[in-house]
Amino acid sequence: LGIAGLPGFVSKSMEFAYGTSSKPLAEKRVAAVQTLSGTGACRLAGEFFKRFGLAAGNAIYQPNPTWGNHIPIFRDAGMDVQQYRYYNPANQGLDFKGMMEDLESKPDGSAFLLHACAHNPTGVDPSIDQWKEISQLMKKKKHIPFFDCAYQGFASGDADKDASAIRLFVDDGHLICLSQSYAKNFGLYNDRVGAFSVVCSDPEEKERVESQLKILIRPNYSNPPAQGARIVDTILSDDKLKAQWYAECKSMADRIISMRQILRRTLENDLKSQRSWQHITDQIGMFAYLGINQEQVNKMKEVHHIYLTNDGRNSMAGVTQANAQYIASAIHDVTK
């Protein structure tokens, strides 16, 4: 493939994220390349920001907490990795006030990494109204929004809904950067299918940006693998296949949503836990931040043989009809 990957895949990927009625797409000013899944897109973003000094202080502000790999990716890209407040442990929800304060206090023109939907690891997303406020503040501060979108379609089951934040920002006039992964929503984990895009001011700028992205890609891996990109391109280009994919992706999302409901119901109603487990159903996507501490996590592993990360992040995908009861009992046991 060319350095920028499979052209059909790239263009379908852009429509998928930005929407078919997207103004920047119609105006041919979205620079876009195929990447090695989300990791490759994030790394490319970091190297691009670094090489051209695009971010104030060469810093990237990431939510606290964020996906573990975000930190070394941007560090290895040569940027200064910083954090902004995000998760509120007191209510297992969003620390919106803290986030807005940090957006306000950082230097103008700072780069902010935003999870487009289904925040990893917390599962906590801003509401659409909160996104609107975030967007306005970021405009005022001339911040660079960099969206990491790894769960489009996989979060709510509705691909357009999951892209709401992205499209809101684009409509508000932000020149966003976007990382897309097809690992989860297409189940193509090991095929490394992704894309990186930059909304530019005009088509001429798009050409310049794309040319520099290629210069960054070639000494890394030359050109991306074809297999997975071909699959996604084929599916998104055919109405029947696309509808089939939509239903299959929705079934994954639905299964996870129902597991959340079962877990919460079992804890609150059956086991009569004294705690509130509302956050399990408020949160969205693959992960639930249970709100348990390291000691409790250890007990989950040692006593109940249930493995989750030390921050209490539970992959909801690992919960099934068969084990939901067992898992709920274990959670209850370590928190009662």
Partner: protein
């Protein structure tokens, strides 16, 4: 809706990669008799890409296999692939493998393996000097530069007078290299010249590198594809391995499996002690995870399947012989045509060179003439892809070369 002012005003338009710019130019040409001798990919005698029959067989099997899924590979890749690939280049008899002194990490083809190795050299071994042959593959220097090397040097290689190897210049330059320099060596089928050291010359190179404590980094992109013989094409790598070197090999399966776009590669690390390899692998993971997390599965699985099944392996060896055989035939054919047409000059090098490429010895003016007048596209350094030569076009290509050599004078300096 007021748009944000652009931050990208200072982002310049980058020059395109030369070889792709050449292909773009070729595509835009409407001439009925045009040929692209630029990009390095195998073509059939009909001038078409070739999916190896054994690859088609395995892909069909994989597509029908209900057990296979798309779960992430480990960071270091598919273990069966890495082991088989490492064994392929070091050989079944490798003491390094037997003594657990060799390991493989799956990477994004040769480029990815080179980059992984370069990053490791820089970060973990604190090396900063790398030597590339003059000339070398266009991307070698970029890879090491982006990995943070600031001393990117050359060793003499191509002798324009003999159209062969400047062995004395090479040895002199390596003798003068500082200890712990990384030296990129083309395992076989040197790109772009097609000129390989003889076994005796490899011995000499090996001795100098031992004396000067230089670190060999083999780029092995053509094993089997060059001579048709897997062991023969691995001679240099195995020579160094037997001599007890610590070294790395960046293996690509783009050409010998025709899996160009699936990015199948393996970084082999050979150490003198087995105990260090676990640590080395852990550092490779630390580098790879923030680059690509884990490598793509499809191509690696195809290669692993073929290499570990004796029937499929036999079929693959036939496919390799088909490709290398056709290239060798085309070399002979082109040479014959050039001589038949009484083209000025000595054309021995067309058949003494090996692999995909031939350094014709044509200068930039002659190259330009061939492109403009004859619509035959080749690199300005005179490199042609022998795979693009067919029984149908050999005559035409020979006459274009003849015309250029006869009628276009190069600057004497060259």
């Amino acid at each position: 809706m007021k748009m944000a002012t652009s931050r990208f005003v200072d982002v310049d338009l980058a020059p395109p990669v030369k070889v792709f710019a050449l292909t773009a130019r070729y595509r835009e040409d409407n001439h009925p008799n045009k040929y692209n001798l630029g990009v390095g990919a195998y073509r059939t005698d009909e001038g078409l890409p070739w999916v190896l029959p054994v690859v088609r067989t395995v892909e069909s099997q994989m597509a029908a296999d209900p057990i296979l899924n798309h779960e992430y590979l480990p960071v270091c890749g598919l273990d069966s692939f890495c082991k088989a690939a490492t064994r392929l280049v070091l050989g079944e008899e490798s003491a390094s493998i037997a003594q657990n002194k060799a390991t493989g990490v799956q990477a994004l083809s040769g480029t990815g393996a080179l980059r992984l190795g370069a990053e490791f050299f820089k970060r973990n071994l604190h090396m900063n000097v790398v030597y590339c042959s003059n000339p070398t593959w266009g991307n070698h220097k970029n890879i090491f530069r982006d990995a943070g090397f600031t001393e990117i040097r050359e060793y003499r290689y191509w002798d324009a007078n003999t159209k062969g190897l400047d062995i004395n210049g090479l040895l002199e330059d390596l003798r003068a290299a500082p200890e712990d320099s990384v030296v990129i060596l083309h395992a076989c089928a040197h790109n772009p010249t097609g000129v390989d050291p003889t076994p005796q010359q490899w011995e000499q190179i090996m001795q100098v590198m031992k004396e000067r404590r230089l670190f060999p980094f083999f780029d092995s992109a053509y094993q089997g594809f060059a001579s048709g013989d897997l062991d023969k094409d691995a001679f240099a790598v195995r020579l160094f391995d037997k001599a007890g070197f610590e070294m790395m090999v960046a293996q690509s399966f783009s050409k010998n499996f025709g899996l160009y776009n699936e990015r199948v590669g393996n970084l082999v690390v050979v150490a003198t002690e087995p105990t260090v390899l676990r640590k080395v692998r852990s550092q490779m993971e630390t580098i790879a995870r923030p680059m690509w997390s884990n490598p793509p599965n499809h191509g690696g699985r195809i290669v692993a399947t073929v290499l570990s099944n004796s029937d499929l392996f036999g079929l693959w060896k036939n496919d390799i012989k088909t490709m290398s055989g056709r290239i060798i035939e085309m070399r002979k054919l082109l040479q014959d045509k050039l001589r038949q047409q009484k083209t000025p000059g000595n054309w021995d090098h067309i058949t003494s060179q090996i692999g995909m490429f031939s350094f014709t010895g044509l200068g930039p003016k002659q190259v330009n003439h061939i492109i403009e007048k004859h619509h035959i596209y080749l690199m300005d350094n005179g490199r042609i892809n022998m795979c693009a030569v067919t029984s149908g076009n050999a005559d035409y290509i020979a006459s274009a070369i003849n015309d250029a050599v006869t009628n276009v004078m190069e600057d004497p300096k060259l």
